[in-house]
């Protein structure tokens, strides 16, 4: 279980608990959090769950895979702390993680 804070581009905050092993894309969808679409169902194949990982959390979310990098490279608003939320699994180590969303998912 991890408490995750999702911050929409307009600043709206959503704090939810995501069970261990569930992706942070799924965590957003299951809690009805706007701004994350997850069109491909969690295969790093569409880039509609693009998020920015806040602060020191980035290293703890692991490395981008080759396919995740390829999709992010084609997404709008790529930053050093960009990740696809479907490629990060909730775990106790991520308790307190903060994610911000880009202006739009594309």
């Amino acid at each position: 279980m991890a408490r995750i804070t999702y911050i929409e581009h307009n600043g709206a905050e959503h704090v939810v608990e995501v069970p261990t092993g569930v992706s942070l894309m799924e965590g957003a969808l299951q809690n009805g959090i706007p701004g994350i679409d997850g069109d491909c169902g969690g295969n790093a194949a569409c880039a509609t769950c693009h998020v920015y990982v806040e602060g020191d959390w980035l290293a703890r979310t692991g490395e981008r895979s080759e396919n995740e990098s390829a999709m992010l490279d084609l997404a709008d608003g790529l930053e050093d702390n960009s990740r696809l939320a479907c490629q990060i699994s909730a775990s106790p180590e991520l308790d307190g993680l903060v994610l911000r969303m880009p202006a739009s998912q594309h």
């Binding site: 491909c40 194949a45 739009s104 594309h106």
Partner: protein
């Protein structure tokens, strides 16, 4: 216990190489099953029981009659990665991939499954080898990436917001101009009208000549073997004419300040400004077809599906808030492009089958969108389907449709404006369909809006 003979393994089959099957035109005659007639009913009955190895589903007959469904249901159940060798002298033979998960595996593995135009490109039938049109959808990284990025900004979030008012005004104009109480062709009056106006805007092309864009889009995907369509040489000539007209625009814009239309963007971006003519033409074809055929056919499909599912139409009338999820469901249910094709550039395994280097691999998106292993009750059209966005009509991976958000926006605005005006749009006859295993579209859809 009686001993059973061990079935002999069928010969291992793969796509014929260009040496084994040199490009020739006209193509060798197509073999068709001997049936009493080729009506939808007869073809569907045939596809229910025909040996899978006997069917060449690339035949436009199955698409014009919309009779292909039993074949793909059987492929998904019995042979999800299946080699089609029938009529291989025409298309060299290809693998049909019909399940969601296998399609996803191909689409996300661009390292093994190439889109390269020079290997044949992204459609089941190879590009004419005497008329190769490189375009970024038919390229692999890294060139694909930089060319796609050159046009991406026009369909990115901030730019879309700037289009919204224009799209709404035009949609209102087109809908307000429709006749009441008389039969008309929805394809011509609405679907083509709206998409051609949008395309003209994207290219900053003269609006009064917008139907030329529709014409070129239709010609670029048309099958030269179908009677009435331009023959091979004629088709190439028409596309060269398109190139000529666009080159004039290019020349004007390359010497002006950069603007936000597609031609100016291509003319000024370092990744595209030195494209050879055939590559400029290829990218034009890509952007015109991508912005035209697909949205057009989803616009038509939505009206047709709501008529076939009156309970869904009633739900929509009762709750206009369902437009968002309905738009995704329309796009899933229509699947405007039935397939994308790849070429394996190394030996690999897919669904337990050995795919050899050089093999053609066809991902049937419309079949993946009807795969009950991935989607509940997939044959039903349900406008408030949970997770309606999870469909494969836009493809997945690096070649995923770049204009998907624009397409969704156009459809969303259209349905919002329809609901403000018309309580009903009645389909009065079955639509006439495009005879193509690539574009799943409508030539006409006759409707009436009650007076």
């Amino acid at each position: 216990m009686a001993s059973q003979p061990i079935a002999s393994e069928p010969a291992i089959r793969h796509t014929l190489s260009r040496e084994e099957a040199p490009f020739q035109w006209p193509l060798p005659p197509r073999k068709r099953p001997a049936l009493a007639d080729y009506s939808r009913e007869t073809l569907m009955a045939y596809l229910e029981t025909a040996p899978l190895d006997e069917v060449d589903i690339s035949d436009p007959l199955y698409w014009e009659t919309n009779s292909h469904w039993p074949y793909f249901r059987r492929l998904r159940d019995e042979a999800p990665v299946h080699f089609n060798a029938v009529n291989a002298e025409r298309h060299r033979g290809f693998w049909s991939v019909s399940r969601w998960a296998d399609i996803m595996a191909v689409d996300t593995n661009h390292q093994v499954y190439s889109s390269d135009a020079y290997l044949g490109g992204i459609t089941l039938f190879d590009m004419d080898s005497d008329f190769i049109m490189p375009m970024f959808i038919a390229m692999d990284p890294p060139k694909h990436d930089v060319q796609r990025k050159a046009v991406n900004p026009i369909v990115s979030g901030p730019n879309l917001a700037s289009f919204e008012g224009l799209i709404r005004t035009r949609t209102q104009e087109v809908l307000d101009g429709l006749p009441r109480g008389e039969v008309f062709d929805w394809v011509d009056r609405v679907s083509i009208e709206l998409t051609s106006r949008m395309l003209a805007t994207l290219f900053d092309w003269p609006q009064e000549h917008r139907r030329k864009l529709t014409y070129w889009s239709d010609v670029s995907t048309s099958d030269p073997e179908v009677p009435g369509n331009p023959q091979k040489e004629e088709r190439q000539g028409i596309l060269l004419g398109m190139l000529q007209e666009f080159t004039q625009l290019w020349n004007e814009r390359v010497n002006s300040e950069p603007k936000t239309d597609l031609v100016s963007m291509l003319a000024h971006n370092p990744a595209t400004r030195n494209m050879p003519p055939m590559e400029f033409m290829g990218n034009l074809v890509l952007l015109i077809v991508g912005g035209n055929d697909t949205t057009r056919n989803s616009i038509s499909g939505g009206v047709y599906f709501l008529n076939k599912n009156p309970q869904e139409y009633a739900k929509l009338r009762a709750d206009h808030g369902l437009v968002d999820s309905m738009v995704s469901e329309i796009i899933r249910y229509q699947t405007p492009l039935a397939h994308m094709r790849r070429t394996a550039i190394e030996d690999t395994i897919l669904g337990g089958k050995h795919i050899a280097k050089g093999d053609k691999v066809v991902m049937w998106y419309h079949s993946g969108n009807r795969d009950e292993r991935a989607i509940d009750n997939p044959d039903a059209f349900i406008i408030d389907r949970p997770r309606a966005r999870q469909h494969m009509s836009f493809g997945f991976g690096i070649h995923r449709c770049v204009g998907n958000r624009l397409a969704e926006l156009q459809l969303k605005i259209l349905w919002e404006e329809i609901l403000k005006r018309f309580d009903n749009i009645e389909v009065v006859a079955e639509p006439e369909r495009v005879p193509s295993a690539f574009v799943r579209g409508y030539k006409s859809l006759m409707v009436r809006i009650p007076a």
